[in-house]
Amino acid sequence: MAKLNAADIQGFAMRGYTFPVARFVFLEIVDAPSGQALLRRVLDQVTTAERWDVKPDSTLNIAFTYQGLVRLGLPDATLLSFPVEFVQGMKARAEVLEDTGVSAPEKWEPAWRTGGVHAWVGIYAESPEVLQRRCKILDDLLAETGGAQVLHTQDASLLSDGGGKYCAKEHFGYTDGFGNPDFDGADRKSQPGQGKLTADGQWAPLATGEFLLGYADEAGELPVAPVPHLLAKNGTFMVYRKLHQNVATFREYLDEHGSKYAGGKEKLAAKFVGRWPDGTPLELSPERPDPSLVNDPARNTKFTYGSDPEGTRCPIGSHIRRAHPRDAFGFNGQLVNRRRIMRRGLPYGRYAQPGEPVTDAEEHGVIFMVLNASIFRQFEFVQQQWIQYGNDSHQGTDRDLLLGKHDHGGRFMIQGDTDPANPPYMCTGLRNFVELRGGEYFFMPSLTALALIATDAVDPR
């Protein structure tokens, strides 16, 4: 297995940055010559995956939509070799993803409704002041080269814990950030439970090709990738989704059912997701949260569902069990290995502390980004088959409680047993707790590929 060339891979693709604030800048490229000129200047700014001796105070990464690549003047034969779902763009895939009803493109916020995004620039920083400075550098490059216009920007940041510090919670009150997949060459501390299961029940890294183009994937071949090879290698595909959270509705729902559920409100919240709000996995600690477990990376994601086939510890339809079934489908988890997604994300908007008044309409939610070698086989599959549907987990057409589309009510069954604190309980009348406000599919090229594009040197076969 090849050692990865970290200098060639964009840092965003390899690891989640731990900076607290970010701005995502969406650009429209003016034309090929000035766009390429801009890209030549931006190249120096792009953060790679190389290890930091000294942590920088900010990072910058860039990715392009299909239309952006068209505008940058890539040859037709190259453009046609990109995967279909990327070419169409996320808006056109609304039926596949069931981004319909309240999440339909017609209901997206104006900037995303208009569309026309060519490029995403992601800037992370250690403070708002540093963020401003880095963004100014980008603005200056835009002004100098005239290569692109800013269509709109999106700010995001870790939420405040109410005591002036950042915390890892999202707006529904869950601590997030567990369970990113581990792959060969990832060059970061891996945690048991992040990779794939081996025949003897250990965890091993997934094939690199599940997350980076140009490497063997779990099917034993190179994933579908654009030509030429040099354009694709070390690149990846990114999904960007702005997910609005209906915090008021969610809190009301949790209150209503929390008072009826014999296990209590906090346990009910845990059953929705499969982790207690503090992140303790239900599978390992079904009765109470356990801070020592959560804070131990060697344990906090190390579990399987094989000893819980009835779902009495972690409900079969709970969020993490749907999104990453591990061994729940049998076959030692083999059906799951090609459906893993790398998640990056940051909340946006003000966090209403528990008890503080809040409305659904307030601007708050999560910027949800996914990295994978194949949007169709990985992200779209998980979204379509495991979030918006339940047949693989034998839950019929039941959808994920948090992310599913519940236009006509919907049900979530919490499996239980004869323990009075763990009864079977059916959550009925599910609402749309999350709504899509916009998003797109992007290609995140390697440094080499960026240079190829910037110098108009892409040569298809």
Binding site: V84, Q88, A92, V96, K260, M426
Partner: protein, 217 residues
């Protein structure tokens, strides 16, 4: 018996389609046109032929040339392929085809060589058996339930889920009374209809989208 798996019979029929260059519409095209307009929901003739679990009809133009060094060869006739997974025995099924779905059978098999019509049921059965190919290996996930019992079970399942949801937290007396009424209703449930009633917007009626690979899969 290779055609049988538990209580399910696997019927495979290959009927050679008439080749008549002088016909206005060729016989294979006529079959295709007819099938394109035939309802696939509860108005389907196969819903009438109610012992049918799943069935398909395929007009097979020719065998496929898979590429050198395989040899290229061609069928002399096109074949109508009929695959059906059904309850009960073959003779009963074929008899019901001839008597209860006469129009469809005539419209489809009327374009095939040697088709004797449905007036003489025995002749029809003999013809179909002549076109039958034995199944070499037949897999059935659920091989011990009839169409009727499965349709009923699906309806019961939905009712049970609804009952459980609406009776959470009820006191024991209310629960028992509610259950007695519920169970009585289930026992007297109306016979469910095979296939599905056509509704606007259901998946069955989504038109083929013309955009490039707009459909997933």
């Amino acid at each position: 018996m290779a055609n049988q798996n538990g209580s399910i019979y696997g019927l495979t029929i290959l009927s050679p389609i008439i080749d008549d260059p002088k016909a206005d519409i060729s016989h294979d095209c006529a079959i295709r046109e007819y099938l394109a307009c035939l309802p696939r929901d509860s108005r389907s003739p196969f819903a009438v032929l109610s012992s049918t679990h799943l069935a398909r009809l395929v007009v097979m133009d020719d065998v496929i040339f898979v590429g050198t060094p395989a040899k290229e060869e061609h069928l002399q006739s096109k074949y109508l392929v009929f695959e059906s997974n059904l309850d009960g025995d073959l003779d009963t099924y074929l008899t019901r085809m001839a008597t209860e779905t006469r129009d469809m059978v005539d419209a489809v098999w009327g374009h095939c060589y040697g088709y004797p019509g449905t007036q003489n049921v025995q002749a029809f059965i003999a013809y179909m058996k002549k076109c039958q190919i034995d199944t070499t290996f037949f897999f059935a996930d659920v091989n011990n339930q009839t169409v009727r019992s499965t349709l009923r079970a699906l309806k019961v399942q939905a009712s049970v889920a609804e009952f459980i949801g609406s009776h959470q937290g009820k006191l024991p007396e209310q629960l028992l009374a509610g259950f007695r009424a519920f169970y009585g209703n289930v026992e007297n449930m109306a016979e469910p209809v095979p296939g599905h009633p056509q509704e606007p917007g259901t998946h069955e009626s989504i038109p083929l989208q013309k955009t490039m690979a707009a459909r997933h899969g």
